[in-house]
């Protein structure tokens, strides 16, 4: 009896698995998006944008990404599975652009057009890249910081990492803009918290301890910005905070005035433009090599404007 129960158990597991199969409509173009992350709100907003475009252009999209941003091998497995599904095109945000090149060559050989999004790939294979101009976005953050602290004093930067394109570009964009335009502002510290709220909080507090006369801090992504807010709150310091991206906690900090303002990318637009570019490529239309999906600065005065509210996510 036991054996039969086991076999029934195994069979029902398979049945459960198969019940998840929502038969794909065969006539629709299929475009899988392989992202850098998944559960983070930013990526969910990109997913939303891709789904909006899928509806508009009547194509089928799926959205997948590794659970955390270090898992290069998982992402390659996802690309392999996506390719097996014989897609019309593939959207891809590389965790490590070099490491994924053998797989990208395979996709290229199979004649499937590749659309890069969010982070670029050091290769000629992608037809186009839908991304934020992070250097320009961080330079705008530097301008806003200078404005808020009166053009002089010490500031610090907390970023998520020094390996990804976004991490490098945002730190460079901010630091170079300060160096070029604001000689009286000094960037005393650039630290990396892995985008982790708690680690970034601790780093913030130690920077505040080391520099009691600090005027402002820039958090270069959602996790870093929240960390700065928490750290400043815990240390009861009074400095200007400029953030990056949105999310419920960051929006609340801006609304309450704790954070002066933040740069937001347009994640919904990134997802939308990726699918749109894929459809255009499949139809034989030419697309520009880089699609700038735009960015905005928001503070408590403009965050409820329809244009801004549409790109902020919780």
């Amino acid at each position: 009896m036991l054996n039969r129960r086991h076999i029934i158990g195994a069979a029902s597991a398979v049945a459960f698995v198969l019940s998840g199969n929502f038969a794909l409509a065969e006539d629709k173009l299929y475009i899988p998006l392989i992202s850098k992350g998944f559960s983070h709100q930013f990526w969910q907003a990109v997913k939303l944008g891709s789904e909006q475009a899928a509806e508009e252009f009547n194509v089928e999209v799926t959205f997948e990404g590794p659970d955390n941003e270090g898992q290069v091998d998982r992402q390659i497995d996802m690309l392999a599975a996506a390719l097996a599904k014989k897609p019309a095109a593939i959207g891809f945000a590389a965790v490590d652009s070099q490491a994924s090149i053998p797989m990208l060559k395979k996709i290229d050989k199979a004649g499937v057009p590749l659309i890069a999004f969010d982070s670029g790939v050091d290769s000629e294979i992608p037809v186009t890249t839908a991304t934020t101009d992070n250097v320009a976005a961080a330079a705008l953050a530097a301008d806003k910081m200078a404005e808020a602290i009166g053009g002089a004093g010490k500031v610090a930067v907390i970023s998520h990492d020094q390996t990804s394109r976004t991490g490098i570009d945002r730190v460079d964009g901010f630091v170079n803009q300060i160096a070029a335009k604001y000689p009286d502002i000094e960037v005393v510290s650039v630290q990396y918290g892995g985008g982790d709220h708690l680690i970034s909080t601790e780093i913030t507090k130690s920077i505040l301890t080391a520099n009691p006369d600090l005027k402002g801090m820039f958090g270069a992504n959602e996790g870093s910005a929240i960390g700065v807010v928490n750290g400043v709150k815990e240390a009861k310091a009074d400095i200007v905070i400029i953030g990056f991206d949105s999310g419920a906690a960051q929006k609340e900090a801006v609304r309450s005035g704790l954070m002066a303002g933040a740069i937001t990318q347009n994640p919904v637009g990134i997802g939308y433009e990726t699918v749109k570019a894929a459809v255009a490529t499949i139809n034989g239309e030419s697309v520009p090599k880089i699609i700038d999906t735009g960015f905005y600065y928001y503070d408590k005065n403009n965050m409820d404007d329809p244009e801004i509210a549409a790109v902020l996510y919780d």
């Binding site: 054996n3 158990g9 459960f16 698995v17 998840g20 091998d73 070099q98 490491a99």
Partner: protein
């Protein structure tokens, strides 16, 4: 099956259950069922290229799981296999890219680093009497940190070592049978599994591995230096993880220092699905291989069916619980 049959001579199936091969059979049957199920559900699943993709996805987790099996059979647990894999890859990166030494030295260094770390874990567990869970948890964190320190938190690329990518991505089998381009990484997995299986069943090290897991006190009282054998087993497991690190690094053509955390749990899941008991004394490498394949087939198949990612992990978790439950029921019966 007639009444006469089942009372006088046990059927083949019943005999398999009695000899304990039943758990393996159950795992194997589940694997076959999954393969058939996914093939029916999607025409894209059963293609040579996709089967190879599944095997390739199994290669690293499979090797880590083989190492974890050894430790688990002794009644221990190894939480450090994921970050040790990364550490060994980083060591290979330092030797090959930063120092510019030839390829064989990088291979030896990676496997040696694995063996040394295994020796450390084994010493903590046996000589210092730290519970394996804590000792390897400590190692896991130490190695995660060291990988970041040594690499300067940046990936180390192997662009200056021609042929390094062939360890994982080349295909010796494909050179002889062009229709079957099975990557070397998969070949390495099967070689490692074969050799480990042989060690477990044919050598004194293997026998002590099971004996320690069944009743360590009895083994010690019969005059065996249990500490030494335990350290040897942890070292062997470490060197296998070193091979896993090489396969991973070769596949990515880089040592990724941030990688590794979470891989130990997937390896342990594969071991458990394969029927190895977490309380020690019982387990097989073949079972572990099947367990690793089930995990890879499941992940790949669910992706091919475009099941939402949120649900993929729910299904994987359910399968693990089902597998362990089957194991429990069987043991209660025995």
């Amino acid at each position: 099956m007639t009444v006469v049959n089942s009372t006088s001579t046990p059927s083949l199936f019943a005999r398999l259950i009695d000899t304990g091969a039943h758990q393996k059979l159950l795992a194997f049957a589940s694997l076959v069922l999954l393969l058939i199920g996914f093939s029916i559900a999607s025409p894209n699943f059963m293609q040579t290229s996709n089967m190879i993709a599944i095997l390739q996805a199994t290669s690293v987790n499979g090797i880590l799981a083989v190492a974890a099996t050894l430790v688990i059979i002794t009644g221990g647990i190894d939480l450090s296999v994921g970050t040790l894999m990364t550490f060994c890859a980083v060591i290979a990166g330092v030797v090959l890219t930063n120092l510019g030494l030839p390829l064989p030295l990088g291979v030896i260094a990676a496997i040696g680093a694995g063996a040394f770390c295994g020796l450390c874990s084994g010493t903590f567990v046996s000589k210092m009497k730290i519970p394996p869970f804590i000792a390897t948890l400590g190692m896991m964190l130490i190695l995660k940190g060291l990988s970041l320190v040594i690499s300067g938190t940046r990936p180390i690329y192997f662009n200056d070592t021609p042929g390094f990518d062939l360890i994982s991505l080349g295909s010796i089998i494909g050179d002889f049978f062009p229709a079957l381009p099975i990557p070397n990484g998969v070949l390495i997995l099967f070689l490692v599994a074969g050799i480990t299986s042989w060690i477990l069943s044919r050598t004194i090290l293997g026998r002590y591995c099971f004996a320690l897991g069944s009743n360590e006190e009895a083994v010690r009282l019969s005059g065996v230096n249990t500490d030494r054998w335990k350290i040897a087993i942890y070292s062997l497991a470490g060197s296998i993880v070193g091979i896993g690190g090489l396969v991973m690094a070769s596949r990515l053509n880089s040592a990724q220092p941030a990688l590794g955390l979470g891989y130990e749990l997937e390896a342990i899941a594969a071991v458990v699905i394969g029927g190895t008991s977490l309380s020690g004394g019982r387990g097989t490498i073949v079972g572990t291989l099947i367990g690793a394949l089930i995990m890879a087939v499941l992940t790949n198949g669910l992706r091919i069916l475009s099941v939402a990612q949120e649900w993929q992990t729910v299904v994987t978790g359910s399968i693990i619980i089902l597998a362990v439950y089957a194991d429990m029921v069987r043991r209660k019966k025995a």
